[in-house]
């Protein structure tokens, strides 16, 4: 029997360029308390806890074990961690709930990019033999993809600028966003990408609570049911892939059931403007779908949390009745290497 599982609470920090006054756990704790308070649950009531983060961002070894101080791991908790965006931690928690081993799960993720240079840090996730020794930074790799999309006729620089402008305009209504309102498109960072095509660098954290079946209805007035969720990966060799396509997103979307019925909202994890162009096409999103009403990753991109935030933002719209069927997408790796797609639905009104 398949259990129904829903996102019942979501919280995030105000994302900022730097949070040097806080350690990672100090930054994380308020969002943990927030989701617990929303549901009335205590740590001891949570069946499973799963987190996502990366030690490379702040240069702190085993930082996720220190972050557990914020959870209150006594009496002992059932806990796991992924060295990835929290969206993948949510996937693990979802499978745990599916097995029936737990009825509730706390999922959180965080990233402090301010201590280092995130463009350089992310080169360490690349092929260590052929690519990483060249230190191609994250903007450079995204720029190669943007140029490929422009050469293929899928976009151009004005269209990319419009993506950035729309995202930051939408973020004006998002109190957590880092960049909002009218933001100049700026100069080239790595051509063809300008400042406005790239995400802000910042620190932030997010948390959600999942619950199964009746438990979800007890904890949330309008749970955001996860109707489908899937993630896929492509070859790590950039030159093996067609950078103008995202077959992993398409496949994950098919398995998550995206194409069965239209969605009204899509929260896409597209840190670079050109990636949104690509994702819209692959996910067949029409102009009637509200894409990134939160402002998306172009308005706030706390690395390792930005994907979980997409699921949280989509769920929160369902909670407050602004959406009935929403798509959430998370990515990881260079040029959309790995993609997770979830479909969330509210009960009929």
């Amino acid at each position: 029997m398949t259990r129904e599982i829903a996102v019942v609470a979501f919280a995030q920090t105000d994302h900022r360029r730097s949070t040097e006054e806080s350690s990672e756990v100090e930054m994380l704790m308020p969002v943990l308390h927030d989701v617990l308070q929303q549901t009335g649950l205590k740590t001891a009531d949570i069946g499973f806890t799963c987190s996502g983060s990366s030690d490379y961002l702040a240069g702190r070894a085993f930082s996720f074990t220190l972050a557990l101080d914020g959870v209150g791991a006594w009496p002992p908790v059932s806990e796991s961690h992924v060295e990835m965006d929290g969206a993948w931690a949510l996937y693990e928690a979802w499978t745990k709930l599916l097995t029936g081993d737990a009825d509730t799960a706390l999922v959180y993720s965080y990233g402090k990019s301010s201590p280092g240079s995130v463009r350089d840090v992310l080169t360490r996730q690349l092929d260590p033999y052929y690519v990483a020794p060249l230190w191609p930074d994250s903007v450079a790799l995204a720029a190669l993809q943007a140029q490929a999309l422009m050469d293929a006729g899928h976009t151009d620089e004005p269209a990319l600028a419009a993506v950035g402008a729309r995202s930051r305009a939408a973020a004006a209504a998002n109190p957590h966003a880092q960049l909002k309102g009218r933001t100049p498109q700026g100069d080239y960072i790595v051509r063809p990408l300008r400042t406005g095509d790239c995400p802000p660098v910042g620190d932030g954290a997010a948390a959600v609570i999942l619950a199964a079946g009746e438990r979800a209805r007890q904890l949330c007035e309008r749970p955001a049911w996860i109707r489908g969720i899937d993630h896929r990966i492509e070859a790590h060799g950039l030159g093996v892939r067609d950078l103008t396509d995202s077959p992993s997103t398409r496949l994950a979307a098919e398995h998550a059931g995206v194409f069965e019925r239209p969605v009204d909202t899509a929260e896409l994890h597209a840190p670079f403007s050109a990636q949104e162009v690509l994702l819209r096409r692959v996910l067949r999103l029409g102009d009637d779908v509200r894409v990134n009403p939160s402002g998306g990753a172009l308005a706030a991109n706390p690395v390792m949390a930005a994907g979980l935030i997409r699921i949280g933002e989509a769920a929160a719209r369902i909670h407050r009745g602004a959406s009935d069927r929403a798509l959430a997408h998370a990515t990881s790796g260079p040029c959309l290497q790995q993609n997770l797609v979830a479909v969330l639905e509210g009960d009929p009104r």
Binding site: P115, D120, L144, Q147, V190
Partner: protein
């Protein structure tokens, strides 16, 4: 609130990596100015080569030489090169499909400016003068309008093949320990030890990390603890650590400072190693200009009663 501390932090490591048969042939080939690809079951040639077919996951080893000339499949102009990148002057990142290959290789293209670069342009390899068997043996690509290069039919057999590479990595950070630990370090500079009390369970944590690990709530109330404390448990270290000027054997102990609900760890000195015992009362010994106690030594007080520290073991 005292100023939050910051310090430079460098994480540096020479990763030593072993090579499989295909990677070994490719990188050894670069050393010898030979570019090798690998043929997949469906007849495609992958450059750079991998050991497993990205489509079927079958092991592949059929090496084939490709030309040092090729075509740019996409590019990006990098006007501000960063540390470690192939060229120090502005250059284009390029994916290049070498003649004879079906996939593209990432590298740098030396060109005078973005107007000189376009998708579809012809390029060739500029070899590094000194080659060691690394992707950086290709210094970069350069524009080329001649005939396609002719691969020599090399089968990937070399007299002195590489078996591994050393890939140095360095990342620079500005480390900030956050509010709670900054306060702890500030106090240490005055030879004081401060912890933080949990508002819920009332336990005092040293060093404080801003959160009670039991209750999962923020801690803020500062409490000065010590300087004296009780040895709760210990071990005898018999192996000398490199660059550590301490004679072995010595004792490393958990010490519950007076007023703390969590034991710190520190070295015990001023007493023969075999006379250290649980319950022993100790105090810190500071050396001139030190940022933390060098070690702890016996105070001479009577030993603490087991019941007073058993919860802290």
């Amino acid at each position: 609130m005292p100023e939050v501390l910051q310090a430079p932090l460098v994480v540096e490591f020479p990763f030593t990596r072993s090579l499989g048969p295909v990677q070994s042939a490719f990188l050894t080939g670069l050393r010898e100015r030979v570019v090798l690809g690998v043929r997949t079951g469906d007849g495609r040639t992958l450059v750079p080569p991998v050991e497993y077919d990205p489509v079927t996951a079958e092991e592949i080893r059929d090496l084939v030489e490709v030309a040092p000339t090729g075509t740019v499949t996409t590019w990006a102009w990098n006007h501000e090169p960063r540390r470690g990148q192939p060229l120090g002057t502005p250059f284009a990142w390029v994916l290049v499909r070498l003649d004879g290959a079906d996939t593209a290789l990432l590298h740098a293209l030396d060109a005078p400016g973005p107007v000189a670069v376009r998708t579809g342009m012809r390029v060739r390899i500029r070899w590094a003068e000194e080659r060691t068997g690394a992707i950086t043996d290709i210094a970069c690509f350069e524009p080329y309008d001649g005939e396609p290069g002719q691969p020599g039919g090399h089968a990937g057999e070399f007299e002195d093949p590489l078996t591994g590479i050393v890939a140095p990595a360095r990342l620079d950070y500005t480390y900030s320990p956050g509010r709670a630990q900054s306060a702890y370090i500030h106090a240490l500079s005055e030879q004081r030890t401060v912890g933080e009390r949990c508002p819920s369970c009332r336990k005092v944590y040293v060093p404080p990390r801003g959160a009670c690990p039991t209750c999962g709530v923020a801690t803020a109330e500062q409490v000065e603890v010590g300087p004296r404390g009780t040895v709760t448990t210990f071990c005898i270290v018999n192996i000398k650590a490199r660059n550590l000027d301490i004679e072995v054997p010595y004792v490393y102990a958990h010490i519950a400072l007076d007023g703390a609900d969590l034991a710190l760890h520190a070295r015990i000195g001023g007493i023969p190693y075999d006379q250290v015992r649980m319950g022993q009362r100790v105090e810190p010994v500071w050396t001139e200009g030190a940022r933390y106690p060098d070690h702890y030594r016996p105070t001479g007080e009577p030993d603490a009663d087991y019941d007073t520290y058993k919860e802290l073991l």
